[in-house]
Symmetry: C2
Subunit: 308 residues, 2 copies
């Protein structure tokens, strides 16, 4: 039972063992597994194949959902890069502990051979920042109740953790675990999507509104996070053999149906997602005696499952 | 320059390039490197050898500072385990993505051979919870200004990120990145320190006040975080060969001076630490255009350096 550092997998029958007569004891909160088992089919969505990137590594598949509602120019440019098979043969070039895993062209950094930089093909070399966008009532918004250190309001928008500021009228995606951001040079208009990073540690929310977030990893995060770290301070691998190769990146829409990833994501505006959040806010069972009563934006995982 | 996803290493001379005449432009915030270079020797401390664990893995050394002000019974029991060389030959048994890396006796879990469980020697098999303790004005406290989703007050106490609740009069260490917690069974009094975990992802603050935090990793986190993840849902390695062996764990006080780790930690009540926090709250340079003006507790790294 030492496995149960966190009693995620505890069966309900186990939880009911002692003190059945103890009227004062509140009922245990339902587990994620129990809540998901009761979810309806309409609470799940298949990501739009136009927004679904399938990145094949030697170790497995990473799925990234693009966020064109927030970064449309970046989504379009990344699609163009992928149509041109730009990422095939490139690599994971950087893993900085408690920060990011970054991939792209190994020759396009300070140690690289500039003469061998891979051309971007039809894609643009730089893009406008797209760090924030105007709040629009047509965009879905599921607010969280417990506040946030960084932003006036936080919640979920169409499957993405996001923030907004009614005073400025702006909204933006947030750098939570799994967020996929656009690496850039010093100037704000220097990103293209040809080098991307995924957040692998404590959410670096100070990056919000300073970098464009192109999407979110919805499957395979462990293939990006569970890698040896590169040398300090920034984690760029010093030796080519340390880099994990990218075999290919494809847009699901460009693949025949049989090769498209068959996954469903729980809608962030669904009753089951709301119940999951509430259960996590006030987790109470024989293991958890002091429910936080709170949850922060970046501590909420969005369930993904195989599509039937 | 694509290296500069985060311009941590940008020299001050580079930052001053354009627009020297632009009076409206605020001066760039000092970098961590610049601030640390100006720190005084008295702002640094050597961890008490009685509180410093040196864990040797095949891949390198992990240093853990115990927190007896918060979890004295656990610190004492872990010292007893270490005196008895309890951890030598045990292993990292679990790596759950975006959560924890856990180590201890592989036979002491659901798949283990119970007949081979290593005895704890003179150490206690269970301890009282030590999840919170009374606020005491004699404990150091450096408050943070930006609030917290989970606790009424957060800050640093003697080198550890912590929270407190004036209403209840209680204070506790928080599950930030690198926190070392005490794994336990379902009952709150079932931990001993014989199995420990380190936080490797987004701070699971819902664990606060539900598990004892014995200390914090001050060196070598990347050796715990950069490991392949075990299978879902909980990340316990299924095959023995996946586990990283623990060669030894020693208390610095038990070692001859020459073998003690020579490290210094920046005092969390020092002016330089305050300046680091302020710089990170309002980071402004040619890369960062929109300073957050805020910082959350678990996003602040405590500098560690080699002692002279």
């Amino acid at each position: 039972m030492r496995r149960n550092l966190i009693a995620l997998a505890l069966a309900a029958s186990l939880l009911a063992l002692p003190a059945l007569a103890d009227e004062a004891k509140p009922a245990p909160t339902p587990t994620a597994k129990e809540l998901l088992a009761k979810s309806g089919p309409s609470e799940w969505r298949r990501p739009d194949p136009q927004n679904l990137l399938q990145m094949q590594l030697p170790t497995g598949r990473v799925l990234i959902e693009l966020a064109p509602d927030y970064t449309p120019l970046h989504a379009a440019n990344i699609r163009t890069l992928v149509h041109g098979h730009y990422f095939d043969g490139l690599a994971i070039i950087r893993v900085q502990d408690n920060f990011v895993t970054q991939w792209g062209d190994p020759n396009d950094d300070d140690n690289g051979d500039k003469s061998k930089i891979k051309p971007l093909g039809k894609a643009k070399k730089t893009l406008p920042p797209e760090y924030t966008r105007p709040i629009d009532p047509k965009l879905p918004w599921t607010a969280l109740p417990d506040g946030d250190v960084y932003a006036p309001e936080v919640g979920f928008s169409g499957g993405f953790p996001a923030a907004r500021d009614p005073a400025s009228g702006q909204t933006w995606l947030t750098h939570c675990y799994g967020a996929v951001g656009v690496a850039r040079d010093v100037g704000p208009e220097t990103g293209s999507g040809s080098s991307l990073y995924a957040v692998i540690g404590q959410a670096p929310r100070g990056l919000d509104r300073n970098l464009a977030i192109a999407g979110r990893v919805i499957e395979g995060m462990e293939l990006l996070s569970g890698l040896p770290r590169g040398p300090a301070p920034m984690g760029f691998y010093a030796k080519p053999q340390q880099r994990v190769a990218i075999e290919s990146v494809r847009l699901a829409a460009d693949l025949p149906e049989a090769q498209r990833a068959k996954v469903e994501v729980l809608r962030t505006d669904s009753p089951t997602f709301a119940a999951l959040i509430e259960s996590k806010r006030n987790r109470r069972d024989d293991f958890y005696r002091n429910p936080a009563g709170k949850i922060d934006l970046c501590s909420i995982a969005i369930p993904v499952r195989e599509a039937k």
